[in-house]
Structures are given as structure tokens and as C-alpha cells.
């Protein structure tokens, strides 16, 4: 029965550590990039919402409809769109972070799985020795 020796285990541990570390670093870097993107997207959405809010009374005023019901309705529609834009940014960011969490989870699973497999492989080596009485009988 073939089983991993110390060399194999050492290289495996190194590889696992490297992959885990790099993976963790990538996740952290992606998380930060998502944070920046989220901040920029939120800023852009707020700038557009502010500009729309400031331009809407002038437009209705020029038409003379600033005191009409249409203006109120347009304000409500614009508030709704602003909320949709804010939710879109938040949902996009949440989705990206959820992907990172899933990768992080996978990374942790790989790390502990490999460690457990190594332990099992080591145990298998010992089991292989212990399951024979050739050296004792």
C-alpha cells in the first residue's frame, strides 16, 4: 500500500501553506478592491442622485410646473430610482464579497482537508507497519 512519506508530507505542507497564504492574500486584496469599488460606486450614485435632485425643480420651474403634482411625482420617481441605484451598488458589492467568502471557505476546506489527509496518510503508514507480524513473530 503506497502512502506518503516524510518528504511527500513536507512538500505537501509547503504547498498547502503557500496556496493557503496566496489564496488568503488574493481574497484580502479582492476584498479591498471591492471595498474601493463599492465606495466609488456609492459616490457616483450619490453624485447622480444629487444632480438629479438639483436639476428637477429647475426643469419644472421652467415649465411652470413646479407646484404641480407632476413635480411631486417626479420627485418620488427620482427617489425610487436613487434607491434602486444604491441597492444595485450594495447588491453588487455583496455578491462580490459572497464570492470571496465562498473562496475563503474553499481555501480553508482545502487547507484542513489536506492536513487531515496528511494525518490519515501518516496513520496509514503506521497502520501498514502495525498490520503485519512479520517482524515480530
Amino acid at each position: 500500500m503506497a502512502y506518503a512519506g516524510y518528504g511527500d508530507r513536507a512538500s505537501s505542507l509547503g504547498r498547502q501553506t503557500r496556496e493557503y497564504g496566496y489564496g488568503l492574500s488574493d481574497i484580502q486584496r479582492a476584498k479591498e478592491r471591492i471595498g474601493r469599488s463599492d465606495a466609488m460606486n456609492k459616490f457616483n450614485v450619490e453624485q447622480q442622485v444629487g444632480r438629479a435632485a438639483r436639476s428637477l425643480p429647475g426643469a419644472f420651474n421652467r415649465r411652470g410646473m413646479i407646484d404641480s403634482g407632476q413635480f411631486k411625482r417626479a420627485q418620488e420617481i427620482s427617489a425610487g430610482e436613487a434607491e434602486l441605484a444604491r441597492f444595485g451598488v450594495a447588491a453588487q458589492t455583496e455578491e462580490a464579497r459572497r464570492q470571496l467568502d465562498q473562496q475563503r471557505n474553499l481555501l480553508e476546506e482545502q487547507l484542513y482537508g489536506s492536513q487531515i489527509e496528511d494525518q490519515i496518510a501518516n496513520a496509514l503508514r503506521r497502520f501498514a507497519i502495525a498490520q503485519t507480524v512479520g517482524g515480530l513473530a
Partner: protein, 739 residues
């Protein structure tokens, strides 16, 4: 001559005395372990002292017994021992012996005279002496038998015996029997008896003769009387002389001597001795050893099984330890994994809640900024955004929950590995244990099977070894028995030969005496007859002499007269023949030269050339020849070879042999003249042929001479036959005329 102490002869006899003393003393020393033998030895020792003292009288040859006939040393020893026993050990016997033999010297002399049968004196005295001689012989036989027993039992002291080596003991007995020289006996048994006594009294017997029964212990100087009592030595027990080992039974016969060494049956002893030879039976030992080996094998197998069980137990413990350690390690790792994963779930849930809370707050703030809404445009969007935010938050939490569940499933699978691996290891260990157990059991079974086969083989070999031993023992016993038979036969042959020698000597002596007497008588008869014949011969010789002289004288006279007549007649015939020859010669010469030449058988030309002297010599020679051969048919008839030879005396005699041969050819071929002529020519041709083995070839002239001689002889034969027929006819006619 009286004995003088210190005399030279005494010194010389000392060596003999030492020898005898050593002999008897040695015998007594060799039997000290046997009570009976000790008694014998004491008697022998006492006898030896007397013997030595008595030997001083006779041993040096210059003692006071010059009248003792010359006897062998053995006889003198017997006599001396008997005298010693009589003189020193038993006064009563001495008195009785003295009545018959007043003095020691005369007693010994009487013994010897009795032995030699030359004693002189009255019949009664000779009978008494003969009786004493027989008694002495008997006593000597007894003493010798006892001495033999002492010698035979000299080796019964267990000095050379181990008791555990019957073969060696038998060899000692046989060696004693074979190597005890007869010269050690004192006129006793021969080598046969010694061998038989020694061999038939093996060391295992260890008892004196007749020990099975209570032996009769007679006082020294007495002997058993065969009836349970003792009789003094010197007292004759009848006139019976019994063989060795028997004594007179008092009834005119002989009975076995209870003090003798038993009836020697060597064959039974050999069988008994070889019957003691046995070999140890190692069958049980082999079985025990095989059983021990089986036990050892089973013990070794049990040790191996125990060790295997211990090893399996140790491995089982190790497997359990490995399993426990692996479970612990996996538990720790899985706990860490679960913790990390739970942190992620918690973080996702917190972020989702925060996002939903932020969305709700934004909607609240937007409503507050709108104030009283106049349409539902915002609220529709707010409703969608709020529901979407909640849905996404829930989705994120559900996704992490699913991932955690999957990770837990994988973790559970990994955590079950220790038990599964331990189970598999224990299974493999059990299989290996089973294989080892099977191998040990198989090895044990094979070893036990081999052990059984080996045990059977060894037991069979042991049985064969015992059988071979028995065969070898029986073979050696048979060889010993055959050797004993050969020995007995040889001894019987030697005894018979000796007896024949004695008989022959006696017969020869008797024949010598008879021959001498007959010779003397014949001598006397011969002398008388010779004298008478001499006288008769002298008379006859005188008469014959006279008659012979007379007849001789008459014969001489007659012979002289006849001789004179014969001589005269011969002279007359010679003269007549000479005259006739001369007449024939003169007539032939007178006739003509051819007739003369033919008469003298020379060529006419030669005759003519001859001078008168030569013719005279030839004539005288012819006349002399005719005188010697006779004229005509007087000497040799015509037609004979002798007649022809007389005619040609100077020719080679071989010519006449060839002529005779040619005549023989005619005889063999009578009636066939041509064949005879051919054979004669061939014969002559053969004479001319050179013989490869020698010079035989004759010349043509010589063969022509032979042929001429043959022709003349043949013509003579024909002529003589014709003359004979004519004479016969004339005689017949004359007879007819007379009739």
C-alpha cells in the same frame, strides 16, 4: 650311593625341585578363593613337601634307590606323591601299605613293577602288586583330575573376570583349555581332558566338582570308595581300573566320581555361553526419544503460537493507538476547520444583515425626504429594493450554510477514516495471524508425520540390528560348536592314533619275537636241509662229472673223426671245383676268343688286348670265384640273386638290390608284362633322378647295367623253371616206365 647334602647333584636337582615346587605351589596359590580348591591346595602343598623331600632320593639320579627301574618323571612323581600321602598324612594307610610293602623304597619299586608287569615272585605277590598298581593309577587319576581342576579354576578367581563380559570370560576359559600344556599334568588327563575340564567348568560355575551335591570330603590319604564312604589309599578296591572321572562302585563296575569335575559337555557349555550373549533392545528408547521429540515439537509450536499471539496483541494495541492518535489529530483539525467556517458564516450573516439594515435605513431616509407622497412610484421601488436586499442577505447566508454542510459531510467522512483504517489493519493483521497459524500447524503436522516415519524406520533398523546380532551370535556359536567337534574329533583321532601306535608297537614287538623265533627255526631247518642237499649235490655232481667227462671224451673223438672227414671232403670238393673251373676255362679259351670273353664276362676286344699275364690273372680270378661260388647249381641254384651275385662279385651290391626290386615288380604284376615293363622303366628312371634329400641319381650306364643284370636274372629264372619242368617230366616218365 647315599645322599650327601650339598652334593653337586643336589644343587643340580634344586632347579627341578624349584620347578616342581613352583608348579604345585602355583597351583595352590591359584585356587585360594575356592574352599574346596583350598583343600586341594593344602593337600597339594603337603604332598609337595613330601614330594620335594622324596625327590631328594630320586631326583638327582644318585639316591638310595638304585634298584628302581628307570621310569618317566611322571611315574616317579606319581609314586613320590603317593608315598608322601601315605607316609605323612595317614598312618593307618601307611601301616596297611607297610604290610604289603614294608619299606618305602620297595613300595615304590612294587608300584613300578606292578605298572610294568615285570615283577617277579609268587602269583599272590604279583596279584597284590597288580592291585596296588591299579590303585595307584586310580589315585593318580584322581590327583591329576584335582590338579586339572585346580589349574582350570586358577582362572576362576575372578581376577580376570568382569562378570559383565561373558564373551571375555568364555575366551579366558577357552584359552585356558587350549593353552594348558599336557606337560603340566602328572600323568593325568591329556589335552582333551584339560580342555574339556576347563571349558566345561566355566567361571560362572565357580564351584568345585560335584558342588551341586555335597562332596565327600575324605581325609587325606583316603579316597572315596564310590559308596559314600572312604577307603584308605593303597587299599585295593578290587581289581577294577575305572576311566577318568569314575570310581569303582564296589559291585564290579564303575560309577561317576562325585569329586570329579562333572561330565564334560562342551557343546552345552558353548550353547550356554553363547546363550548369555544378548544385545540390548533399544526399541523402547527409540520410542521414548521419538515421543520426547514429538513433545519438543509441540512445545516449540506452542511457543511460536504464543509468540504470534503476543505479536498480534502488540500489533492490535499499536493499531488502536494509531487509531486514537489519528482520531485526536483529526478531531483537532476538524474543530479548527469548523471554527473557521463558523466565523465565515457568522461574518456573512452579519454583513447581510448590515446590508439589509442599510437598505431599510436608506428607504426610511428617502421617505422622510419625500414627505407626503402623492404617488406610489417610490413605494413600489422601495418595496422591491427592500425585498431584494432581504433575499440577497438570505441567499448569502444560505449559501454559506450549504458550504458548511458540505464541509461537515467531508469532515465526517474524514473522521470516519481512523476507524475504517484500524478495522482494515486489524483485518489484515488477522489474516496474517491466520496464515502464520496455518503455517505453524502445517509445519507441526509435517514434522509429526516425518517423526512417525522416522520412528518406524528406526524401530525397523533396530529390529534388523537385533536380528543381525542374533544371526552373528548363532553363527559364532555354530563355529564354536564345529570347532569343538573338530577338536574332539582331532583328539579322538590323536588318541586313536596313539592307541594304534601302542598297539602297533606291541604287535611289532610280538611279531619281532615271533619272527625271531621263526627265523631261528628256519635257520636251523635251512642249515639241516642245506647240509643234506649239499651232500646229495656233491654225490650227484661227482656222478655227473664222471658221465660228462666220458661223453665229452667220446664226443671229442667223434668230432675229430667227423671234422677230418669234412675237411677232407671240402678239400676234395675244392680241388674238384678248381679242376672243373680250369677245364671250363681252357675249353672256352680253346674254343675262341668270343667264348672266352663271354666266360670271363669281359668285352671281346678287351680280351684280345689282354696280355698273357693279364689273361692268366683274369683266369685265376674266375677260377677262384667259381671255386668259392661253386660250379653250376651246386652253391646257389640258377635263377637266384645269390647265383647272380656270385657271377658278378665286383659290382656294386646296390645294383642287385635294384635288380631284386625290379624282379619284385614282375612278381606283383604277374600276367601283365606291359605294365611290369612300364613300371620297371619308371623305376630305372627314378634311379636316374636326383633325390632332393641326397645324391641318388645314377648314370644311364649304371641303370643299363642294372637292366642287363635284371634281364640275365629273369632269363635264369625262366631257364631254371624250364629245367625244373623238364626234370619233372623226366621223372614222371621214368616213374611211368618203372610202372
Amino acid at each position: 650311593m647315599a645322599h650327601i647334602p650339598g652334593h653337586k647333584s643336589d644343587v643340580q636337582g634344586q632347579g627341578v625341585r624349584d620347578f616342581l615346587g613352583g608348579l604345585i605351589g602355583g597351583a595352590s596359590n591359584l585356587v585360594t578363593n575356592n574352599p574346596v580348591s583350598r583343600g586341594i591346595a593344602s593337600a597339594a602343598s603337603a604332598g609337595r613337601n613330601e614330594l620335594l623331600s622324596d625327590w631328594r632320593w630320586t631326583g638327582d639320579g644318585k639316591s638310595s634307590q638304585p634298584t628302581t627301574p628307570v621310569a618317566s618323571t611322571r611315574d616317579r612323581m606319581d609314586t613320590a606323591i603317593a608315598n608322601a600321602l601315605v607316609n605323612q598324612q595317614n598312618k593307618q594307610a601307611q601301616t596297611r601299605a607297610a604290610r604289603l610293602a614294608p619299606t618305602n623304597e620297595s613300595f615304590s619299586l612294587g608300584n613300578l613293577e606292578g605298572l610294568t608287569g615285570v615283577a617277579q615272585g609268587s602269583t599272590a605277590a604279583r596279584n597284590a602288586q597288580n592291585a596296588r598298581s591299579a590303585q595307584i593309577s586310580q589315585e593318580n587319576a584322581i590327583k591329576n583330575a584335582l590338579g586339572d581342576f585346580a589349574r582350570a579354576n586358577a582362572f576362576n578367581t575372578d581376577r580376570f573376570r568382569t562378570g559383565a563380559t561373558p564373551g571375555l570370560d568364555a575366551a579366558i576359559d577357552f584359552g585356558v583349555a587350549q593353552r594348558t600344556p599336557t606337560s603340566l599334568g602328572q600323568g593325568g588327563p591329556s589335552m582333551t581332558d584339560l580342555a574339556s575340564v576347563a571349558f566345561d567348568n566355566p567361571p560362572t560355575v565357580g564351584t568345585p566338582p560335584g558342588d551341586d551335591e555335597t562332596p565327600i570330603q575324605c581325609p587325606v590319604g583316603t579316597v572315596p570308595d564310590g559308596k559314600g564312604g572312604c577307603t584308605p589309599v593303597g587299599e585295593p578296591v578290587g581289581n577294577i581300573i575305572c576311566p577318568l572321572g569314575t570310581v569303582p562302585d564296589g559291585a564290579g563296575g564303575c560309577a561317576p566320581d562325585p569329586n570329579f569335575g562333572g561330565t564334560p559337555v562342551v557343546g552345552d557349555t558353548i550353547r550356554s555361553l553363547y546363550g548369555e550373549l544378548s544385545t540390548r533392545d533399544f526399541t523402547d528408547m527409540l520410542r521414548n526419544m521419538m515421543a520426547e521429540r514429538e513433545t519438543n515439537l509441540r512445545g516449540l509450536n506452542k511457543q511460536s503460537v504464543d509468540q504470534l499471539a503476543a505479536s498480534v496483541l502488540r500489533r492490535t494495541g499499536q493499531i488502536g493507538d494509531i487509531k486514537t492518535a489519528l482520531e485526536t489529530e483529526l478531531g483537532v483539525l476538524d474543530a479548527d476547520r469548523a471554527g473557521v467556517q463558523q466565523d465565515l458564516v457568522d461574518a456573512v450573516a452579519a454583513r447581510a444583515q448590515q446590508m439589509q439594515a442599510d437598505t431599510d435605513a436608506s428607504l426610511v431616509e428617502a421617505r422622510a425626504g419625500l414627505g407626503d407622497q402623492v404617488t406610489d412610484e417610490f413605494e413600489k421601488v422601495a418595496q422591491i429594493v427592500g425585498s431584494q436586499a432581504g433575499s440577497q442577505a438570505m441567499s448569502s447566508q444560505d449559501a454559506m450554510a450549504r458550504l458548511a454542510q458540505v464541509a461537515d459531510m467531508a469532515a465526517a467522512e474524514r473522521l470516519a477514516a481512523p476507524a475504517q483504517l484500524a478495522s482494515e489493519a486489524e483485518l489484515a493483521l488477522g489474516d496474517e495471524e491466520f496464515a502464520y497459524t496455518q503455517a505453524l500447524q502445517s509445519n507441526l503436522s509435517e514434522a509429526l508425520a516425518g517423526l512417525d516415519a522416522e520412528e518406524t524406520e528406526r524401530i525397523l533398523e533396530e529390529a534388523m540390528r537385533q536380528e543381525n546380532f542374533n544371526i552373528g551370535r548363532d553363527q559364532r556359536m555354530i563355529e564354536a560348536l564345529v570347532g569343538d567337534l573338530v577338536r574332539k574329533d582331532t583328539q579322538a583321532f590323536q588318541a586313536g592314533q596313539a592307541q594304534l601306535g601302542r598297539d602297533f608297537s606291541a604287535d611289532q614287538a610280538q611279531l619281532g619275537r615271533d619272527f625271531s623265533a621263526d627265523q631261528a627255526q628256519l635257520g636251523r631247518d635251512f642249515s639241516a636241509g642245506q647240509s643234506a642237499l649239499s651232500r646229495a649235490f656233491s654225490g650227484q655232481q661227482s656222478a655227473l662229472s664222471r658221465a660228462f667227462q666220458t661223453s665229452e671224451r667220446e664226443a671229442a673223438q667223434t668230432y675229430k673223426a667227423e671234422q677230418a672227414g669234412i675237411v677232407l671232403a671240402a678239400e676234395q670238393d675244392a680241388a674238384r671245383l678248381k679242376q672243373e673251373a680250369s677245364t671250363l676255362a681252357l675249353q672256352a679259351e680253346a674254343a675262341d676268343e668270343q667264348t672266352a670273353a663271354d666266360l670271363y664276362k669281359v668285352d671281346v676286344a678287351l680280351w684280345r688286348q689282354m696280355t698273357g699275364t693279364e689273361r692268366q690273372a683274369l683266369r685265376e680270378d674266375w677260377i677262384e670265384t667259381q671255386q668259392l661260388a661253386g660250379i653250376g647249381s651246386e652253391a646257389f641254384p640258377m635263377g637266384t640273386m645269390q647265383n647272380l651275385q656270385q657271377k658278378y662279385p665286383k659290382l656294386d651290391p646296390d645294383f642287385f638290390i635294384h635288380v631284386n626290386a625290379m624282379l619284385g615288380i614282375d612278381t606283383l604284376n604277374a600276367g601283365n608284362d606291359e605294365e611290369a615293363a612300364t613300371l620297371r622303366d619308371q623305376y630305372l628312371e627314378g634311379l636316374r633322378t636326383t633325390d632332393p634329400y641326397g645324391a641318388k641319381g645314377l648314370t644311364v650306364a649304371e641303370t643299363s647295367m642294372i637292366d642287363t643284370l635284371y634281364a640275365e636274372l629273369a632269363a635264369d629264372v625262366v631257364e631254371s623253371a624250364r629245367l625244373a619242368r623238364n626234370a619233372e617230366q623226366l621223372e614222371m616218365s621214368s616213374i611211368g616206365r618203372r610202372r
